[in-house]
């Protein structure tokens, strides 16, 4: 289910992280949104950033993207300490952020959207030919399925739009790509396409930060999982040797939580009903109970 060979290897060789955040703290008025957060991103690995609503994922992304600079803490990028004060600074460093709402211009074609704000020009006029050529090269590298780069973005499917947004983030050849809920609004096939894309980003050597609520997606592509809870670090897991329950426990803050309770309740109900049944076979209910728990987990 998961290909997790690269990241543990990268971590094992103690290669220095491309992006390293230490002790990040962010307050909004009386609200302590982030407290002493640490996060490392290595080249060629996918780090999933998970947590419940209000855990501070988006705030941390905004710190990395330069939207809200942190109040305290240090950010080290490529071995030197940096201050990310604006989205432009973040981009110039080599951090590309794809926000959840994509922010594409529906009335412009794919080429125009890819190069928006960074158009290539020759002698003061737009170099449409050069941009179109580069668009095709980029989209082909990502094995993206876009029928034409000269059609308005409005006529693309959700997955294709996500592809365009991600491809756009790659134009400056960033070291780190941050994807905020890239599969949130997508169908099954489109989700698979985007997950393939995430793996291709990793294979190209980008560090990828993936924010997601979908544990199936996280387990499918992430190498490491960083869990935030109530604005604090609540565990870092190598996906290879971590169970679903451990991550859920870290997200919700205990092994005794709504998700496990639900699973357990279902189990006991089934056991009880079977026990009340006149024919008692001790082996059968346990097996059935296990199966249903696992089904719940998926």
């Amino acid at each position: 289910m998961t290909q997790t060979t690269e990241a543990p290897a990268a971590a094992a060789t103690k290669q220095s992280p491309v992006l390293s955040m230490r002790g990040i703290t962010k307050r909004f008025g009386a609200v302590q949104a982030l407290t002493d957060i640490d996060l490392d991103v290595y080249e060629g690995e996918v780090v999933a950033l998970v947590g419940d609503n209000g855990a501070g994922k988006s705030t941390l992304v905004k710190v990395m993207a330069g939207v809200h600079p942190q109040d305290e803490g240090t950010i080290t990028f490529d071995g030197r300490e940096v201050h990310i004060g604006s989205p432009a600074e973040s981009r110039d460093l080599g951090i590309a952020t794809v926000f959840q709402d994509l922010a594409l211009c529906d009335n412009l074609d794919v080429v125009a959207n890819l190069f928006l704000g960074h158009e290539k020009t020759t002698a003061g006029t737009l170099d449409e030919v050069g941009m179109e050529k580069e668009s095709w090269e980029l989209l082909r590298q990502l094995s993206a399925k876009i029928p034409s780069v000269r059609i308005a973005v409005a006529s693309l499917s959700g997955g294709q739009r996500q592809t365009v947004a991600i491809a756009r983030s790659l134009l400056g050849d960033p070291k780190v790509v941050i994807l905020d809920e890239p599969t949130a609004a997508l169908g099954v096939a489109q989700t698979a396409e985007v997950l393939n894309l995430v793996e291709r980003l990793r294979d190209r050597g980008h560090g990828v930060v993936l924010i997601s609520h979908n544990m199936a997606d996280v387990q499918a592509v992430a190498d490491r999982v960083v869990v935030l809870r109530l604005g604090r670090n609540n565990g870092v897991f190598q996906i290879a040797d971590t169970s679903y329950e451990d991550i859920i426990a870290a997200i919700t803050g205990a092994t005794d939580n709504a998700v496990t309770k639900r699973a357990a309740a279902k189990l006991t109900v089934e056991v009880e009903t079977l026990e009340e049944a006149p024919v008692a076979d001790d082996a059968a209910p346990t097996a059935e109970g296990d199966a249903s728990t696992q089904g719940e987990n998926r």
């Binding site: 211009c105 529906d106 928006l116 179109e132 308005a152 006529s155």
Partner: protein, 426 residues
Amino acid sequence: MTTTPTQEVTTSSVAADLQDERLLQAHGVGGRFRAELARIRTGDLGSLPVAVGLIVIWIVFQSLNSNFLSPNNLVNLLLQSAAVGTISVGIVLVLLLGEIDLSVGSVSGVAAAILAVGFVNKGWPLGLAILLAILAGTVIGLFYGVLYTRFGVPSFVITLAGLLGFLGLQLWVLGKEGSINIDFNSWIVRFCQQMFVSPAVSYGIVVVVALVYAGAALQRRRQRGAAGLSTASIAEIVVRAALLAVVLGVVVWYLNSGEGRQQGRGVGYMVVLFVAIVVVMNLVLRRSRWGRSVYAVGGNVEAARRAGISVNRVYVTVFALCSTFAAVGGVLAAGRLASANQASGGADTNLNAIAAAVIGGTSLFGGRGSAYSALLGILVIQSIASGLALLSLDSSVRYMITGAVLLIAVIIDSISRRSRQSAGRA
């Protein structure tokens, strides 16, 4: 496809942009035609409704009065279109951002007043008076832009205030007399009334335009070929350039063929200026980074902002350009009337300029349209005005008909927007 560059061999014989099998491809002239038809059916109407409307209007008026399509009448119609048409080019720009400028009439009146007072009363050199009149427009537009970006007041309200305020300024500049005549022998009046392109020069312009068009298309074809992208066939380019030359040539020949030609009447220089402004603005919108950012802001402000476009700069420059074009239109109108008075830029100037842009096919919702809509739209409005004048119907009927045409144009805009959305072409 005969001159295959090296890159193309490495990929495949199919051009890079045509490899996806899901792409509906148009082969040959027939395929091209069917693709255009499909585009129109899904609501991407472009200038089609206005072109059809213009032809219908012409047929109706010609059948009611055989003088309507006479060369002399068309020469006058074009001259009458130029001033308001120039104002309308600025309206197209603000509409592309999804904004509006209701004060263009007043601003054009201010420019006319400054020109007349400066040139006639104060005795400034004509060039200086024109320059200051146009600069006044630029300053007003910058003022709007700053108000809009700094305080976030809707442009509708800012320019509504401007409509009143600058009407007052116009009256104040004109002073007690209220009406100032400009000397008939001054350059500006001759330029707007009596200067016509000689037949030889007008045909020369047609040939040059067609050659430049063909040259640009061939250059583009060469570049795309070198980049391994699909190219237009040489035949298509030649046919298009020839078609352009023939259409322009016939128009120029017809305008030159009237009995007015003996008095030197034909294609006015003011008309050439107006058309040149339209063509240049279209190129700037389509081929410059600034033009691209105008469409981007009109399509999705937030996306443009996140892409690093200086959104405020786009707003300020567009408002400034709009008022500048309004001032240029005011100067041309003053030259055409040979006077500036309290009614300059008043009455229906404002609404005609806005209506022309919308009738021409520029969407009120932002992000869609082209500079050519100012040209097409003003031709529709002036055709109605001219046709009704020939039928000796008064302005009451003209207002009602122009209003109805504007309403139809807005309804077409809204319907085609809806059908574009359902067909994924929004």
